[in-house]
């Protein structure tokens, strides 16, 4: 069998061209290996070889994304490789993002296996670990040999289409994919083992890892709330009666924006909840229980707040992906700011 053909992508630094001052270096392709490719080829032995190396400055790539991506893909195509490797990028942020972006683009467009490597805190890791295999490396290039030692055999496996083991065993970052397998012990025994380890302060590995949510620091307090425009935003699913935009009762794909001008009190005649997964009777009887328009109108009259914003934004939080919620908020937060809203009260079910 002939050797597996690999195209390798590196930045200007690893090509020995220069550091930050050369980061605007345009994509270039060279026959054979450059820089770390040397160590890759050594580890590949007779099974694979880097046939060409693409070099691109980190700033150039990230600032001319579409152009750079298209150019690099064309270069890769020319060599018709079996596999594409980018990096490893360690903790270099722009390099990591470039490696993830280009690896993902090559995978999508050329339909060949791709591999990259970086430090777990590299911003490129969070952006692309779900899309491409990212081997976990140390945070500095001093870990090159070690990184290549795990990347090289894994690359060969990928290229040959062999079965890939779990992230722990292979050394790549978890991609959030669950796979069924037969365990040696049944669930109750495994749970008791975990508990015993936990009680003995020994290491144990959960079988149900929780997602990592980022924490958002609160904004500084409002100086004078009696002059501020306040908006209501809810994930409690309050909508005008009849749910005119058909917001889903769970896993919402959209949010609604509704006018509450002239409403001093939400009633079962005017509003209801679209939210599934909880007993909606009390919310339907009086939607103010979830979206307190009545109380805020009182505060408005008493001069305790400046005014209540004319529109409220709403969706159902039930089963709705964090990514969707983020996308909704990114959109309507801009409108809220443009409308001069200074504070938002978030309510849920």
């Amino acid at each position: 069998m002939s050797k597996i053909r690999i195209v390798h992508y590196i930045n200007q630094f690893f090509a020995g061209i220069g550091g930050e001052e050369k980061a605007d270096y345009k994509p270039e392709i060279r026959e054979g290996i450059v820089g770390p490719g040397m160590e890759f080829n050594k580890k590949f032995g007779d099974e694979a070889e880097i046939v060409a190396t693409i070099i691109c400055g980190d700033s150039y790539f990230n600032e001319n994304l579409d152009e750079a991506k298209a150019k690099v893909i064309d270069m890769v195509k020319e060599y018709n490789p079996d596999l594409f490797i980018a990096g490893p990028a360690f903790n270099a942020g722009r390099y990591g993002v470039a490696c993830g972006t280009i690896a993902n683009a090559v995978k999508e467009e050329l339909n060949i296996p791709v591999l990259t490597g970086m430090y777990e805190e590299n911003p490129g890791a969070d952006m692309f670990k779900k899309d491409v295999y990212i081997m976990e490396t140390k945070n500095s290039a001093a870990g090159m040999r070690k990184a290549i030692k795990t990347m090289a055999p894994f690359a060969i496996k990928l290229a040959k289409g062999e079965e890939i083991g779990g992230p722990k065993e292979e050394g790549y970052m978890a991609r959030g994919i669950r796979k069924n397998y037969f365990a040696d012990k049944r669930g109750s025994a495994r749970a008791v083992d975990m508990l015993i380890n936990k009680l003995n302060k020994k290491k144990f590995e959960t079988e149900f890892p929780m997602p990592n949510f980022d924490r958002v620091d609160p904004n500084p307090a409002i100086k004078d709330i009696t002059k501020s425009k306040i908006a209501l935003v809810t994930s409690g699913g309050i909508v005008p009666k009849g749910n005119p935009d058909h917001i889903e009762s769970s896993s919402a794909s959209k949010y609604g924006k509704y006018d509450i001008q002239g409403f001093n009190d939400l009633t079962s005649e005017t509003h209801e909840t679209a939210h599934g997964g909880y007993d909606p009777v009390y919310a339907n009887e009086d939607a103010d229980r979830v979206l307190p328009v009545d109380v805020l109108r009182d505060l408005e009259k008493e001069g305790k707040i400046g005014e209540l914003h004319r529109y409220f934004y709403t969706t159902t939080g039930n089963g709705t992906a964090v990514a969707s919620s983020k996308a909704f908020a990114e959109e309507f937060a801009k409108e809220l700011i443009a409308d001069g809203v200074e504070a938002v009260i978030l309510t849920s079910t």
Partner: protein, 109 residues
């Protein structure tokens, strides 16, 4: 080790021969010293510089190691390095340097 210094070490070694070159390091931490020592013996561990894949195997010592200290004027040493010798993790540096030399240095002395 930065690309410029790698090139300097490479040029000097080509000019004078590896047996006639000793590299003295002044890095403040064992890890940094080890990386620089690895660069001039086994080659650039980051594979980015002129010494990528070049195994010079040079003699390399850190300025706080006894091999270097014993070769220089004690007063000058005290004056120039004495202060740093007090604040650096000398044992750690010696251990790291010794490991690298044992593994990669071409000269057994």
């Amino acid at each position: 080790m930065d690309l410029e210094n790698q090139k300097r070490v490479k040029d000097i070694t080509e000019k004078h021969g590896a047996e006639n070159v000793i590299v003295v390091l002044g890095a403040a931490e064992a890890e940094a010293a080890g990386l620089a020592a690895e660069t001039v013996t086994a080659g650039d561990p980051t594979f980015a510089g002129p010494l990528a894949g070049v195994q010079l195997g040079l003699r390399v010592y850190h300025a706080v190691e006894p091999q270097f200290k014993g070769e220089v004027d004690a007063d000058v040493y005290e004056d120039q390095i004495g202060m740093m010798e007090m604040v650096l993790e000398v044992d750690e540096i010696i251990e790291e340097m010794t490991d690298i030399r044992e593994e990669f240095c071409k000269f057994n002395d």
